[in-house]
């Protein structure tokens, strides 16, 4: 059981800034995120795109913003459970909450802050009528353990970076790699496209375009995919394989959080914006893009503000009755949980003669 003061669901910008604000109040944080890396949408969807409305940054790349936030909260030693989705929440007799992920990891905290953005990112599944029958029986939407493809025949579908990168990677692992895409053009880093071209020319990747998978064949386990190719004359044929990996990107879904008994409106969690962004369940807060209230704006900078106010309320829950006044970091410096201290340089007192 992982225990902490504030359990944050979602490691996007709002979640990461919460760690800093909580740290100033000497509260420890642990973050859960379904993605394998922190940063949320900023890392997953648009790391190389600029953001222009972060105060004091006329322009910052989303990926750089994530890095800066990680650097800023590093002193407060956040814990991370990455690549796992928060699945259930149970209130304990002592008032704390236990949140369990889809992989069974348990976390316990007196305060839960949902900073889940648009929800957890789920793979987009192609619309093949019997695809569900073969999930984990040869069909994988996410590559977790590349070793399982050793000496296997693999078919990958998709036209983006992940389809290209995994085709390249698996060409060294699998016995046969086939890449199928609806168009002749791929959108990915130029290096990746060139590398796939090279591997295709060497006969190490079997490239089929423009084409798509329209059916799956197999008894218990996947044994072949049905391909429809549209070059010149339309034709359909089967390719024997052990694995089919459709890589069509991720789309966010509110997911299991929707079943936690929280008041939901417009796919977002209703909170008390007059005070502390608490939900209808005391001790559970919702901050950033995942919440809604009159006048809500889904902006990173609003998430930062919400996180800051939420931490004050969390302090009261965790330290009932304990006195505290807001301190300015410039005045009092920052004492990290790792023993480091940041502070303003002392003024020089020297006589002028």
């Amino acid at each position: 059981m992982i225990t902490t003061d504030i359990l944050i669901i979602g490691a996007g910008p709002t979640g990461l800034f919460t760690v800093f604000e909580a740290g100033l109040l000497k509260l420890k944080c642990h973050l859960i995120d379904a993605l394998p890396q922190p940063g949320g949408q900023c890392s997953e969807i648009y790391p190389k795109k600029p953001i222009y409305d972060i105060p004091a940054y006329p322009e910052i790349l989303a990926g750089d913003l994530t890095e800066k936030l990680l650097e800023q909260c590093k002193q407060f030693e956040p814990g991370f459970t990455l690549g796992e989705r928060a699945e259930t929440i149970e209130k304990q007799e002592d008032g704390t909450f236990v949140v369990t992920t889809n992989k069974g990891t348990q976390h316990q905290a007196p305060v839960v802050a949902i900073a889940g953005g648009l929800g957890s990112f789920e793979p987009r599944k192609p619309q093949i009528h019997n695809i569900v029958d073969f999930e984990d029986k040869g069909v994988e939407y996410i590559i977790k353990n590349p070793d399982i493809y050793k000496d296997k025949r693999v078919v990958i579908a998709g036209g983006g970076d992940s389809a290209l990168d995994w085709s390249i990677f698996l060409s060294d692992v699998a016995s046969e790699v086939t890449l199928i895409h609806r168009r002749n053009e791929f959108r990915g880093h130029l290096d990746s496209v060139d590398k796939v071209q090279e591997l295709k020319d060497e006969g190490r990747i079997n490239l089929i375009t423009p084409a798509e998978i329209i059916g799956l064949v197999g008894d218990e386990k996947l044994s072949a995919v049905v391909v429809k190719q549209a070059q010149h004359i339309e034709k359909e044929f089967e390719i024997e394989c052990d694995h089919f990996i459709p890589l069509f990107g991720l789309s966010p879904k509110l997911g299991p959080i929707a079943n936690w008994g929280l008041e939901i409106e417009k796919n977002a969690i209703k909170v008390n914006n007059a005070l502390d962004y608490q939900t209808n369940i005391p001790g559970i807060f919702a901050i950033g893009d995942v919440n809604t209230y009159p006048g809500k704006l889904k902006l990173i900078l609003c998430g930062f503000h919400e996180a800051t106010l939420m931490c004050q309320a969390a302090y009261q829950i965790i330290n009932p009755g304990k006195k505290y006044v807001l301190k300015y970091t410039t005045v009092s410096g920052i004492d990290g949980f790792d023993g480091t201290r940041k502070e303003a340089p002392k003024a020089v007192v020297k006589k002028i003669e």
């Binding site: 949408q41 969807i45 648009y46 795109k49 648009l118 929800g119 987009r124 192609p126 619309q127 998709g158 036209g159 983006g160 895409h181 609806r182 168009r183 053009e185 959108r187 069509f248 990107g249 789309s251 966010p252 509110l254 417009k266 796919n267 977002a268 809604t292």
Partner: protein, 110 residues
């Protein structure tokens, strides 16, 4: 004053909405749909309008001459689902006076 235009949008349940869209607010079709709440929040414009998620895919029903597709949009549509010959991404269609009378249908949610 810049002119407003009329657009007919069929939602995902098949209901037709006749709406008025400003041409001077740099809005795109996805944003018009959101501003009238024709599709629930969180099911459209997920990536914010970067042609990176296809949640604003729509089918163009009228014969309007629309701005040409850029590479981003074409690439995204080549990976999207339920794509037809008349598919476009709403976020890439900036509202302009030439779109008066435009008719579109929202593609299914995925």
């Amino acid at each position: 004053m810049e002119q407003d235009i009329n657009i007919k949008i069929t939602d995902r349940e098949g209901k037709i909405h006749e709406v008025i869209a400003p041409t001077d607010m740099a809005m795109n079709l996805m944003e018009v749909v959101r501003s009238y709440e024709i599709a629930p929040e969180g099911t459209i414009g997920v990536c914010g309008g970067m042609a990176m998620c296809s949640s604003c895919q729509c089918y163009v029903l009228s014969e309007h001459e629309l701005p040409e597709m850029q590479d981003d949009e074409e690439a995204m549509l080549s990976e999207a689902f339920n794509v037809k010959d008349n598919s476009r991404l709403g976020c890439q269609l900036q509202i302009n006076p030439d779109m008066e009378g435009l008719e579109v249908e929202l593609a299914p949610e995925i």
